[in-house]
């Protein structure tokens, strides 16, 4: 498969702040030795360089659909980036300290585009809720554990019906959660109902260009999330 490697290299070395960087030992293959490489995490791309001064990465690990786990290994502070699939590769990496290892595991488990999108969807919904309801209290969020193993995107659900523009408060998924959470303290809120259009065009989102764009981003994304949330295994 062709890939725009030149642009990828520029993305790897551009001036913007990185999401994490440092030396890690990378296992070459199943029986290979570890090589010390300079790793740079940016977005959902984990680049690795010969050393910190290199202008071009040796390689990149694309971090979609992976899980990050601690592993038993001869190396101290080892962890693995594991992909699903029968002949998928598992990358075994080792940090140089406990703190570095923990930092990397946290950063890598939250690196996927899918994860970021989930958080953005959540915030978008919360913003609409606090603006619409006019109440300062935040609705109960869907818990997102830092080591959440994100599955590959599930199949699309059929298109969802539109909400009417004026929503009575109890129809709003967030309001339903809050009620249930107070009735049964300590229990996890149920997954939200499939996502619907949050508001009419001249509603609370009209002064938010991002919000309007996300609105247009499509029902598909909301359906995806609804489907994923209802199918995922509760921890």
């Amino acid at each position: 498969m062709k890939l725009n490697e030149r642009s990828l290299a520029f993305y790897a070395t551009c001036d913007a702040p990185v999401d994490n960087a440092g030396f890690l030992y990378k296992k070459g293959g199943r029986h290979a030795t570890y090589h010390r490489r300079w790793f740079v995490l940016r977005g959902n791309m984990l680049f690795y360089f010969e050393d910190a001064a290199s202008r071009e990465p040796v390689g990149v690990i694309i971090l979609e659909g992976c899980t990050v786990e601690l592993v038993e290994a001869a190396e101290e502070f080892a962890f693995a980036v594991r992909f699903a699939g029968t002949r998928a590769r598992t990358y075994v990496l080792a940090a140089e300290s406990q703190a570095a290892m923990e930092g990397w595991v946290k950063a890598l488990s939250r690196a996927s585009f899918d994860y970021l999108r989930l958080v953005v969807r959540e915030l978008e919904q919360q913003l609409a809720a606090v603006r619409g309801a006019g109440s300062p209290a935040l609705p109960q969020p869907q818990p997102l554990s830092p080591t959440l193993a994100l599955p590959s995107t599930p199949a699309l659900a059929p298109p969802l019906p539109r909400w009417p523009s004026a929503l009575p408060p109890k129809e709003n998924g967030c309001a339903v959660w809050s009620t249930e959470a107070t009735l049964r303290p300590g229990s996890e809120p149920p997954p939200p109902p499939p996502r619907r259009r949050a508001s009419a065009p001249h509603g609370p989102l009209d002064l938010a260009p991002f919000a309007r764009l996300h609105e247009c981003y499509g029902q598909e994304i909301r359906a995806l999330r609804g489907q994923w949330l209802s199918s995922r295994v509760q921890p």
């Binding site: 890939l3 642009s7 520029f10 992909f83 913003l127």
Partner: protein, 149 residues
């Protein structure tokens, strides 16, 4: 540059944000327009021969520029080399507009800016940081300082 091609191929098989058959022309001089199935999945644009299951190629959509060309046509280029353009021909103005908007929003960096925007807006209304509930309020990737100039 080495990359995990198998995982990229698996990604190309995921449900797409957008998919359509478009005319595509590569950036090299003298490139010919070809029919390709073009598929947007997270921040990658995959393109397939119309009868094949494996993509011919993929474009990572970071630091890219989406530009209107002739009517019904847009191009993707990258910040470091704006003259090197991938051209896409749509079947209508609406389709062209739809794709341009989707591609401009497709990058991880755009999504990150959205998050920071929503976070600040919620903070303004409620006085609370919505990321605290997820335990990610200190994550470097979600700080304002992480935004590109």
């Amino acid at each position: 540059m080495r990359y995990n091609e198998k995982e990229l191929q698996a990604l190309s098989r995921q449900p797409a944000e957008m998919a359509a058959e478009l005319g595509m022309r590569g950036p090299k001089k003298g490139s010919v327009l070809k029919r390709r199935l073009v598929k947007l999945v997270v921040n990658f644009l995959f393109y397939f021969r119309t009868d094949e299951a494996e993509p011919v190629g993929a474009l990572l959509l970071e630091r890219c520029r989406v530009t209107r060309e002739e009517p019904g046509t847009f191009s993707i280029s990258f910040v470091e080399d704006p003259e090197r353009k991938y051209h896409f021909e749509c079947s209508s103005e609406e389709q062209c507009q739809e794709w341009m908007e989707a591609l401009r929003r497709a990058s991880y960096e755009f999504m990150r800016r959205s998050l920071i925007f929503y976070r600040n807006e919620i903070r303004k209304v409620t006085g609370k940081d919505p990321l605290e509930q997820f335990g990610i309020s200190e994550e470097a990737r979600f700080q304002l300082s992480g935004l590109q100039a």
